[in-house]
Amino acid sequence: MEILRVEGVNKSFGGLRALNNVNFSVEEGTVQAIIGPNGAGKSTFLNCMIGRLAPDTGTVMFGDISLTGMKPYEINQVGVSRVFQTPEIFSELSLIENIMIPTMAKRDGSFALHAFKRLDQDAEVRDKALHMLEDVGLVEKRDDISGSLSRGDKRRLELAMCLSQDPKLLLLDEPTAGMSRADTNNTIDLLKRIGDRGITKVVIEHDMHVVFSLAEKVTVLAQGAIIAEGKPEEIKGDPRVQEAYLGGAHL
């Protein structure tokens, strides 16, 4: 079953055609990667899906809900979470608080005025957050201020924040950018592990190693248009991809 369906999306910035009639769909429960050279329109595409940018034309359907024109928090509330290229976390708060916030957002909706309850008495939220931190291996640091974490740990925290909401669809924008090889492999393992939860994932990635170890299907964007789509092995051998992506060099 399709969970996400993008049809005929166009987006221009002034004279620059960033997205040119993009059609794209994601099967539920799969991991799909979007690759492409720099400036291919990957981030624009993601931003159109998540409500940060409004596409000029076209529709983005999530199940039977249209995401076009929805606010970012509304899109999240229907079950789409996003990991950013540079980790977006609450850097002045502790790790456990960082996870409690999305957990409450999932449970209580986009606005709930619980001004007289004690947060630390909310066992449900607290346990869930602790469990999540354990999953990503950050539980010992639960009371540290998250701004003091290493870059890799910040990413893991952000991932945990998204996962704590049990999203139906998880969008990952270069989840391993700037990581060491060891950290990258850890992240791949982590992403594979959470694959078991049945979360559909769309990954935008530069690193072919990551793409080929995670994705079941790969979409190649170049100059705002989809030039190829298929299983990783097929994409590897596709001459059009090699031409666009690497200027002819072999993967």
């Binding site: 509330q77 002045e92 708060l93 916030i101 957002a105 606005f111 947060l119 630390d120 009371d143 909401q165």
Partner: protein
């Protein structure tokens, strides 16, 4: 970290705070601050700053127009005296309601912008209120003279208080001046502090901190920052309105100068001085500023000469003339200098200073302290 503080510790903090506030007449007497007028100011401005801190300290939105709500609260209280009678309780309740409505309207518009744009919007609204209170709104505010209660006012539920003498707010016969007035303000402050404490520890409180830290992440986490911030703005406006009402309860006169932007600046100052984002800081800041204002502005050349009389004459005169700049009329100079020093050297305010000293003390006394992050003093 909010989640690290246990309920028991909070009740202890509240208990100690309550005792400290209620016994202020005793322990502040030796430093010359034990008299009711000043104590009332401590409580009133402490409440004002506590409310301001709920907005600025938690969400980081710097309002430069909070004095407007102080003024609205004051006018409402005096009108309540004029129409309903001199009982402080309806006055306080009505002041909270009207200032809340005002804050809702102003906040709804101002919060469409952030950063300095928000500050300027709130400033603009406050200046408009101030200018209007002085000019066209004179029928409501009595312009420059200030609004006061007159013998001829209806005071519906106050038939018993038709006796002669000045009209003073009274709670079932207890006149709200002197120590009675202070204790009324102190109780209101304690209620205000208790609510603020609960907000600090609540899910709502953590959402407000999230607004300050990263609104983008908040949006992509499924949370709408706007209503959270607006709620904080309204609550903080209500605190200001209540403080304004207390001013009139202890002295039934409301003037427009209360709404001027310098008054807004004063509460910013108090909050920063004590430590924005901490529970006790703003109250401490308010008390310190009011205390020093009182002490310093009472000094004059004569008293300075007495203070420095131990110096040899050739030193005494220059010292006195320099010190003279900072006292009496020049008190604001002291305030300005103090303010700069705090912002430059202690951006976290006095509470940060206290926790720094506390950490130093801890480190030297017990090296075995586990390496967890040290909680800021609250």
């Amino acid at each position: 970290m909010v989640t690290k503080i246990s309920p028991a510790r909070d009740y202890l903090l509240f208990g100690v705070f309550a005792i400290a506030v209620l016994t202020m007449p005793v322990w502040l007497a030796p430093i010359g601050a034990g008299y009711p007028d000043l104590l009332q100011k401590f409580a009133i401005f402490g409440l004002f700053a506590t409310g301001f801190n709920l907005l600025f300290g938690l969400t980081g939105y710097l309002s430069f127009g909070h004095a407007a709500f102080l003024g609205v609260g004051s006018y409402t209280a005096v009108w309540s005296f004029k129409l309903l009678g001199m009982n402080p309780i309806p006055a306080a309740i009505l002041a909270v309601v009207t200032s809340g409505v005002f804050a809702l309207a102003i906040g709804y518009v101002s919060l469409r912008r952030s950063g300095i744009y928000f500050s300027i919007l709130t400033l603009a609204f406050a200046q408009m209120s101030y200018n209007l209170a002085y000019s066209v709104l004179t029928p409501i505010t009595n312009g420059e003279t200030g609004l006061r209660v007159l013998e001829s006012d209806p005071r519906l539920f106050d038939s018993s208080a038709n006796a002669d003498g000045p009209l003073i707010s009274n709670l079932f016969g207890i006149e709200m001046t002197g120590y009675a007035g202070f204790y009324f303000c102190a109780v209101v402050l304690l209620i205000g502090f208790f609510i603020a404490q609960r907000i600090f520890r609540s899910p709502f409180g953590i959402m407000l901190r999230a607004v300050k830290t990263n609104q983008n992440r908040m949006n992509y986490t499924g949370l709408n920052p706007r209503p959270y911030t607006l709620a904080a703005f309204v609550i903080s406006g209500m605190y200001a309105g209540l403080a304004g009402a207390l001013m009139c309860i202890t002295d039934p006169l409301a003037g427009a100068e209360r709404m001027q932007w310098t008054a807004s600046g004063e509460v910013v100052l108090m909050t920063i001085l004590g430590g924005a984002g901490t529970l006790l800081g703003p109250i401490l800041g308010a008390a310190l500023i009011k205390y020093f204002e009182n002490i310093f502005s009472a000094f004059n050349e004569q008293t300075l000469h007495e203070v420095f009389s131990f110096l040899p004459d050739f030193l005494e005169y220059p010292v006195v003339s320099v010190a003279g700049l900072f006292v009496g009329e020049g008190w604001h100079l002291t305030l300005g200098v103090l303010f700069m020093l705090i912002v430059i050297f202690l951006p976290g305010g006095i509470m940060e200073g206290v926790s720094r000293i506390g950490r130093l003390f801890k480190r030297s006394s017990s090296k075995a302290e586990p390496s967890g992050a040290t909680a800021p003093a609250e």
